[in-house]
């Protein structure tokens, strides 16, 4: 059983974002980056499946796959330190600023050559938030896909997989499909582990295979973006929010006075 987990590195959720001078993207130089949070759940799910298979006398390999500049090695190493077996780093200036489809085309070619039984992606990324990669990978690689997975179970000697999908308003539904398959993992289905010191040490010995445009037989034309961000800006507030100024104590007092006037409590 070979499980590929796609991991993206994104600005940390606590990062205070500023817009660059040309207004085309954020100032991305001095901000902290993290593993995209939904992807951490995908990594954990893959590791748990592997552990279960090993416990049953089987085996599995978990491979982290990440597309991005050099800095994403940090995200890759985190996955390796947690227990993934090896990693693929897709890295080439030609892959900067690709749209969802083009990014997935590059990843599909790499993953297709590598071979796989399952592909896990996080539900969506914190930065662009396309929420499409896992589904596009499934289509490009000719395998079934399911999204918003709250549980993943292997059946029939790993020939099929059952996925508990979250629907809206508290509803769920199980889907069964043959492997190989691509599954987008919902946050909260497990408790992602922390890397141990031993894990971090072990990770140093694990392979990170680099892939560049030259290694692929993908034409550059196919990567031309079909959608481009022209301009970014802070949203205009649709509702007039009264911001209460002052120290914590002053603001608290003013807020309580207002709420009392409004008979809000």
């Amino acid at each position: 059983m070979k499980i590929i987990v796609c991991v993206k590195q994104v600005p940390s959720r606590d990062a205070i974002l500023r817009i660059n001078e040309s207004g085309t993207w954020i100032q991305d130089r001095d901000i902290a980056y993290d593993v995209n949070e939904p992807d951490a759940y995908a990594v954990e799910e893959a590791l748990q499946i592997k552990e279960k298979l090993v416990e049953q006398g089987g085996s599995a390999e978990v491979i982290i796959c990440s597309l991005g500049p050099d800095r994403v090695q940090m995200a890759i190493k985190e996955g390796l330190a947690k227990g993934a077996d090896r990693a693929i780093h897709i890295c080439d200036p030609a892959f900067d600023n690709l749209d969802a489809l083009a990014q997935a085309r590059v990843m599909a070619e790499v993953i297709g050559k590598e071979g796989f039984d399952l592909i896990f992606t996080g539900l969506q990324s914190d930065d662009y938030g396309f929420a499409q990669t896992g589904v596009i990978l499934g289509e490009l690689l000719g395998v079934p896909s399911a999204t918003i997975a709250m549980a993943v179970e292997l059946h029939d000697g790993n020939k099929s997989v059952r996925v508990k999908r979250e629907l809206e308003a508290g509803w769920f539904q199980w889907y069964q499909m043959p492997t190989p398959a691509s599954i987008s993992i919902q946050s909260g289905l497990n408790q992602p582990r922390y890397a141990t010191l031993k894990g971090i040490m072990n990770a140093k010995k694990k392979e990170i295979r680099k892939v560049t445009l030259a290694d692929l037989s993908i034409s550059k034309d196919l990567l031309a973006p079909k959608q481009t961000v022209e301009k970014v800006y802070f949203p205009v507030k649709s509702k007039k929010t009264e911001i209460i100024e002052g120290s914590a104590k002053e603001a608290a007092a003013k807020l309580v006075t207002k709420l009392k006037q409004m008979r809000a409590f």
């Binding site: 959720r13 974002l17 954020i26 749209d99 969802a100 489809l101 930065d127 938030g129 396309f130 929420a131 499409q132 589904v135 596009i136 499934g138 289509e139 079934p144 896909s145 399911a146 999204t147 918003i148 999908r165 979250e166 629907l167 508290g170 509803w171 769920f172 539904q173 889907y175 069964q176 499909m177 946050s187 909260g188 408790q191 079909k226 959608q227 481009t228 961000v229 022209e230 301009k231 970014v232 949203p235 507030k237 509702k239 929010t241 009264e242 911001i243 209460i244 914590a248 104590k249 603001a251 608290a252 007092a253 807020l255 309580v256 006075t257 709420l259 009392k260 409004m262 809000a264 409590f265």
Partner: protein
């Protein structure tokens, strides 16, 4: 037709009301671009839903009845929509960005070799040039997105981007459209829908809710917010990450995957205001937000806001509430 095609969503024979938001987007875009508007409904035995959709202003409602579409599968819906698009040749395909659409629309777009501009919150039309507005970085920043692709362009809109009630009434003609599907094309076997064990906490009836988000940092800090809730005689709610981390039980979750609430007073503490949370609480009468990031999207919907450190503001707030209560 070379016009605008809106995807109508039903599941288990029930129309998803968010469809009307996509219809509104379609009606406005059709008027702006001078294009005809159609709606397409996929399913099996869903004629009455097609009739319901036909009470809105559109040129046609296309009804695709097929036994393989009775239960939703991404394979069935993607293959069927592809055939619909090939027959109708729309310039734009509009969808509501629901869990169902997220599951099949990227697949559909890819099978057509097209872009899906997903989860848009609005659009701008300059002449005939369409620019879409998306939220990035979890709603903290908006992006204007241009499209460089030939028809059809697929666009999904976030819930709440348009008001479904704004759909113009009319009478559209219901037309049948057939697609060819076979059982072996559908690789996924769906099972019955179900809910988890009945939730014991019903926040929909709460008058005051104190809701806590990621800003609380650690499980042990939840106590700070519990004190505030106690002072206000309020119920405790939470955004998804808090329940994901197991800091509060799942039944406290407010938002698209949790409960939808409308209390008199909603205090959002350390909640950034990602759309998944906002859809569950935006109808509260008064929304108060406490957050250290002045650009947090929660301030977009709050009536009253305090930009500051919740670890200072919340205890101060508890003191002031106790004082106010003592004064009567």
């Amino acid at each position: 037709m070379s016009g605008i095609l809106v995807f109508a969503e039903q599941r288990e024979g029930k129309l998803n009301r968010v469809t009307y938001e996509a219809v509104v987007a379609g009606q406005r875009l059709a008027a702006g671009l001078g294009l005809p508007l159609s709606v397409v409904l996929l399913g099996s035995g869903v004629d009455s839903i097609a009739q319901e959709l036909a009470t809105k202003k559109a040129d046609a409602v296309y009804l695709v009845n097929n036994q393989h579409l009775e239960r939703y599968t991404p394979d069935g819906f993607s293959l069927a929509m592809r055939q619909v698009i090939e027959q109708l040749q729309p310039q734009y395909v509009l969808l509501a960005h629901t869990y169902l659409v997220r599951d099949f629309a990227p697949k559909l777009a890819t099978s057509l070799g097209k872009a899906l501009v997903a989860d848009c919150v609005g659009y701008k039309l300059e002449g005939k040039v369409l620019t879409l507005v998306r939220q990035i970085f979890q709603g903290k920043i908006n992006a204007d997105v241009s499209i460089h692709d030939s028809a059809p362009i697929l666009v999904s809109f976030q819930a709440g981007a348009f008001r479904g009630d704004d759909a113009e009434a009319g009478s559209a003609e219901v037309k049948n459209l057939s697609v060819q599907l076979s059982a072996d094309q559908i690789r996924l076997q769906p099972q019955e829908l179900f809910r988890e064990a009945k939730q014991s906490v019903d926040l929909t009836q709460s008058k005051i809710i104190v809701s806590v988000g990621r800003g609380i940092k650690e499980k042990d800090n939840i106590a700070i917010v519990e004190k505030l809730a106690a002072a206000l005689d309020a119920d405790i709610g939470a955004s998804r990450p808090i329940c994901d981390s197991g800091w509060l039980p799942m039944e406290r979750q407010i938002g698209s995957s949790g409960q939808t609430v409308a209390p008199k007073l909603y205090l959002a503490v350390g909640i950034s205001g990602a759309i998944q949370h906002v859809v569950g609480m935006k109808n509260a009468s008064t929304i108060v937000a406490i957050n250290k990031d002045a650009n947090a999207p929660i301030f977009d919907i709050a009536d009253l806001g305090v930009v500051g450190d919740l670890f200072e503001v919340v205890p101060a707030l508890v003191d002031e509430i106790e004082k106010a209560k003592a004064e009567g």
